[in-house]
Every structure is written in structure tokens, then in C-alpha cells.
Subunit: 455 residues, 2 copies
Amino acid sequence: MQTPWKEYQDQNQQRFLEEMLELLRIPSVSAKSEHKDDMRKCAELVKQRLLDSGCNKAEVMETAGYPVVYGEKLIDPSKPTVLVYGHYDVQPAEPLELWHSGPFDPVIKDGKVYARGSADDKGQFYMHVKALEMMVKTNSLETNIKFLIEGEEEVGSPNLGKFVGDNKELLKADVILISDSSMLSMENPSLDVGVRGLSYIEIEVTGANRDLHSGTYGGGVANPITILSKMIASLHDENNHITIPGFYDDVVEATPEERELMGRAPFNEKEYKDELGVKELWGENGYTTNERTGIRPTIEVNGIWGGYTGEGAKTVLPSKATAKISARLVPNQSSPNITEKLLNHLRSIAPPSVSVHAFEHHGGEPYMTPINSKGYQAASKAVQTTFGKVPIPVRGGGSIPICSILERELGTKIIFMGFGLDSDNLHSPNEKYGLENYYKGIETIPYFHKFFAQS
Amino acid sequence: MQTPWKEYQDQNQQRFLEEMLELLRIPSVSAKSEHKDDMRKCAELVKQRLLDSGCNKAEVMETAGYPVVYGEKLIDPSKPTVLVYGHYDVQPAEPLELWHSGPFDPVIKDGKVYARGSADDKGQFYMHVKALEMMVKTNSLETNIKFLIEGEEEVGSPNLGKFVGDNKELLKADVILISDSSMLSMENPSLDVGVRGLSYIEIEVTGANRDLHSGTYGGGVANPITILSKMIASLHDENNHITIPGFYDDVVEATPEERELMGRAPFNEKEYKDELGVKELWGENGYTTNERTGIRPTIEVNGIWGGYTGEGAKTVLPSKATAKISARLVPNQSSPNITEKLLNHLRSIAPPSVSVHAFEHHGGEPYMTPINSKGYQAASKAVQTTFGKVPIPVRGGGSIPICSILERELGTKIIFMGFGLDSDNLHSPNEKYGLENYYKGIETIPYFHKFFAQS
């Protein structure tokens, strides 16, 4: 298909890249308060780029937390409106010592941009900004476009629900488009039809009121690390099923037909294991790896610490041990319900010889999008046009907590059109995003708008 | 009993204290290589003080690790010789934020010296240095005295065995005297008749070759924190018995008579709990707290870490998790044997989906001293003289790994005469040592020499 924007993209490719790198240089880590000024700086840059790229209005809008950047290019009230959601905040970069180059000092190597946020989500939401520029400059824009770029996705979007509720008219759209996920591979393009929900908690177990000598007191006083370990060990049985009472109650089991369809997605176990450097995979008995990471709920310990963690040996019986634990949820599990069950289960294991302080960090509901919708069909056709293959519908393992809130508040379905790869090291050291993915994404997005306007 | 040294002590009390504080100001942390220069500085100061206090010879003697300080005051080959063992190294001070004053900036409050090493063991071994000075200056010395002050006790004395073996003649003595333990209270003086042994290991569990996104991979790849927690949880059953196969095989069970005698030691459970700030105690079913911490072997996790431990929430499936774990041993358990059993047990729990790297930090054998020996009788009489009560013989929970080595190499029995208290926060923030304990110790030690020489 001959398009007016391909030539424009080729001529401006280098600048499109440089603008992305400029965004990546700002350490907009929402989880760490030391980056407060960086967050503001990043929001201002996003706003400026939206204006530069063709929005006729853009602003940094306050919330109780970090601000939202809103932008719009409205061309004709009779045309459909696409709301693009993305986020300018990024995960913490730690552990820093495992990065091969600075997390906020982007480096291009082997055709990939290495930097925190390159795939999640600066590089991905910015494709939409550059797609807008191309469509405007080549007079190919056939939809109204709105941008909702938030700054708290990586900490669970605690303030976005209220923001969206307060700005329903402003954000009104016919479809919501999100590029914050991945595809199977460039050879096997896919579109997510769902994301998992999330319950993220932290638990602190306290024994004695101070660290003790493990000889003098060892054996006579509860060790909080031992108790916390028993709590964590109790979360899975020998088949790696989760043991929390009622945890699976609301899970909608996939039908044999759905599982059969999922099983057709290409998956090379040897390559998968080699790439991760593990001898064996691990997971819930009775399910394939794709099922375990897509349609099944899971519990992972994200962090743990307690006692002496320095060099050498210290014979201490620690006062405290702490863990961060999160569950991924599938339809129709509810995040508040699972959070409560998880906290109750952990507390029930604590003997009276310790005290427990546990609280929720954040949560989000699982989300599914129908593949027979106009939005999904437009996305599928767009990907087919540029990749030459009909994309495979898959269930993504990650979470975008705001999805269920956006649908509830705006009454609009969400379409996931991610161009990253699972191997992009999201949330890990050496996060990367392929240049080809970036450029292909920018090329594909205008097709979505075109097909959606025509459908 | 009228003694010549009491008046001398009263006149020099303030200086005795100041000299101890000077030692405490040197951060001689053997576990952390950044303190290498401090270790050397501390050894040199100990040598100088030995010379100043009456030794006719003192030197800093090299080992493969930190040096040993040796000193001697030989008065008459026909008199018995007492070898005083102590250590000038200290535990790491972390967690620093819990100290009310600088760990190496000693502060005197409520009659106690607050500083790392005040009780363990600088303040305690230095009592012997000042006791020597008093005996020399008042012409009351009736024994030959040798000092062996090492710099690696807190890291398991890895080089002292060889040193002692290489210097048997130099260190030859009739009894070995150690003040590196505690008594029940000033009102209920006690003497340790044994110390527990130690097996200290570190275990690192590795899953994938990098930290992963817990959504994309969660449920499909082993989580090393979960696996490590299962290992730790498996160490104790529901009765808090240790489950490692063969762990108790060599334990010499205390007889009902011994347990009845131990049960007479004063113990106020309410005070003990209140002081520790716990609602309930914890430990092996079927044993009292004093038995659990004295005659029973135990396993404690001394530290654990893995994944994201910073502020807020990071949805990561970590690559690694690590723990420091140590067992306290009782006669006739053997440290190498238990270390091997512990390592084997932990490895046996690891599924093939993770790799395990485990190694020994250090170990030491349990030790018992007979109460009918000349040395014990001299110590008991000395304490009775200054405290007015026959000390209660008790089994200490801590470990002095060098005991069994000293006895094996030198063929000499060890007497424990500790003046600290369990509540001195050994190995913890705000370590302290009572001024009364320090002065009472200095006053008591010359009686030991006197009674030992006369026995």
C-alpha cells in the first residue's frame, strides 16, 4: 500500500530517534522521591513535544501526585476520536552495577537503544507522537487524537482514576490505544487481548526490639527471617499451585478451545531457556509456559531483606525482616479481594512471638478486550499491512492497572498495540528497545487511525 | 579480704576508663576490608598498653590475616603460668541508623560505656591488662602471665590455629583465662562452663541470568527468593526441632540432674520478654529458654537479601537471593560435619530450575570445661570474694571457636570468667558495658591469679 507518510518518515528518521533519546536522558523514576524534579522536567518536555508534533493544545495537568500530560489534535467532530494512553515515568534502575552503560545515558548497540524506559514506555508512547507529526505533515490524519501521558504507571497509577473521572468530557474518545506491551517477535507479530491484574503488598515481620547476639539469644527468640520465609514458602504447594484460601475462586478457566488456540503460538522452549540461562523452567503443574505467564494468576516475591547483608559473617539474630510480594491476576479476580486474602494468609502464619506490619502498595484489575471490536480489527489490519502477517491474539502477562479504570470511567474499550519484545529487559538492567521496532511502530500507527476512521 | 591493689585501683580508676575508651575509638572491624588500617592501628595500641602496664615483652606478630598481639610478664619459672586470651577486633556496627551515638565514639550514660566492642571484647580483655598493672605496681603478682590478643575472633579465627601450633612453646601455660562472655547479673554472678560451637554458611540461589519483569515472566521461571524461603522454612518443623537429617546425632543430651540444676538459675520470663519487647518466646518444644539458648543446638538466619529493596514497588522477578545462616552447636557435634549436613540439606531442596552457590564462612567446635579443675575453682573463689556469692555454673550460648583449638594445640584447659551481661547488646546496635562490671572485673582478676598460684 502506497502511503504519503513513508517518505516523510525516512527523511526524519534520525531526528525521531534523537528526540526519543532526549526523553530517555531524564531519570523520571516515580517510585523514588529524589527524582521529583526529573518527573516535572520530563512532563514539561512531553508537553512541548506534543505541541511541536502537531497538537493544537497540550498541557501539564496537576494531580495529587505526579502530573498528567494531556494533548489533543482535533480535526473534525464528525470523525472518530482515538485516545492514546502512555506513561512518562519509568521503573527504578537498580541494581545499577548490572548495567553495561548508564541507565539514563542511552547507548545504541546492535540496532537497539539501551536505556531505562526505552521500551517501557517512553520509546513506545513516543511512536504515537511521531506518527501524529507524520500524519499532520502529510495531511493524512483522518481521526481526532487525544494524548493522556501519565507519570505514575510504575507505582500503580494511584491518582489517575480521579483525574479521569474529573475529566470525562476532555478525554471522551471512541477507542483507547496503548503501546505498553510486547509482541511475540518481529517474525510473529501479535496483539495482546488482555493484561493481568496486580496486587502488590509489603510485609514487615518484627521479633525482638533490637538485633540480638545469635549465640546468647539464638533458639530462644523468634527469628523474623525464619518466620517470613515460612510465610513465603507457604504460598505455593509442591505443584506450585497457590495455597491461599479462595485465591482461585474467581478465576475464569480458559476453555479447551482457547488453550488449543494459545498452544499454536510459536514457542521454542530451548531458546527460551537458553536466553534466560536456566536449565529448567518452573511453574504451576498442568499448564504450559505461555499459559503460566498469560492466563494463570501468579505470586512472586519482588524483594526481601533482613539482618546483616554486608561482607563477611555477623552472628546476629535480626529484629526485622521485610518482603515485597505481588500477585498477577486474571479475569475475574479482583485486586482488592486478592490483596485482602494475601494479607490475611500471611498474617495467619505469624506466631504470637512476632508482630506483623503489612500494607498494600498498589493494585490493578485484570483486563480483556474483545477481538471482534472495530478497534481490534483496525489494529490487526494495521499490523498485517506493515508486517505482512495477521497478528496472533495473545494474553499478556504484565499489568496496566489503569485499563479497567479507563473503561469504567470513559465507557471505552482499550486496544493494545505493543511493539516491544519480551526480551527487552523491562524492569531489569539493560532495558532496550529495537530501532526497527520503533520505526516499524511509527509506520504502523497511522494505518490504525486510517482503518479505524474507515471502519 | 584486705588487698594491696584496691587502693591502687581507686586512685587510677579514671585513667583505666580513659584507656579503654581510647581502644574503643578505633573501628577495628575485622569483617570489612575497609578497616584494614584500623586493625593495624589497634594492634599497635594494644602492644603499647601491654608494655606500659608491666609486660616485659610485647609484640605484634604476623599471621596470614590480621596480626596477633602477644605479651608476657614472666616472674618465676617455678610459678604457674596463666595465658589470657582476648580479641581486639569487633563486629560490624551496622545497622548504623539504630545507634543512639556513634559506635566508635564512646559515650558514658547511666553508668555504662556505649560503643562497639565495649563488652565484646575490648572492655573485657583490657580488664586483664589493668589487673596486671595493679599486681605489678603493688607487688602482688604470684603467677607468670601471657597475653594472646587476636584480631580475627569475629570472623572465626581462621589463622589462629596455625599461629598457636607454630608457637606452642611461647604460649605454654597451665591455664587459659578468657573474659569474652557474660554473667547472669551482678546480683547472680555466674561462670560459663561451656560455649556453643558454630557453623556459619552463606548460600546464593540464582534463577534467570538477569532480573526479569514479574508480569512477563512471573509464573514461568523459578523465583530464587521463593526457593530460598522454602530452604529456610524447611530447617525447622512445627515443634521448632531442626529437620536436617542427622543434625542431632552427636548431641550429648543433658541428664535430668543437669537440667534440674540448670533450672535453679534465676530466670524471670516476664522481665526477659519485656526487655526484648516480645509478647511470646519461641523455641524448641520440650525445653526451657535457658536450655534452648545453652544446651541445645540452634539454627538462625543472620541475614537475607534479594530483588528490589528500595522505596516503593518494583515488579521484578529477581535473578538472585542470598542468605547468611549459622548453627550453634553443642557437645559432641562437630562443626565441619554440621556444616556439610547443612549445605547438603539446603542443596537437596533446590529444584533444577535454580543453581546454588553455597560456602562456609567459618566454624568452631563447642567447648566444655570441668568444674572440678583448679582453674574453675580459682575463678569461682575469686568471684565469690568480690561478689559475695558463689557463682552459678552455666552453659553460655555464644561461641568462641578458638577454644577447642587452644586446648588441642596447647593441652591446656580454658576457664571462662566473663563480666558482661546478656543485655549488653553484643553484636547489636548500642553495645554497652557497665562501668561497675569493668571495675569489678579488674578487682576480681588478681584474686584468680592469687588463688590459682596457691592451689
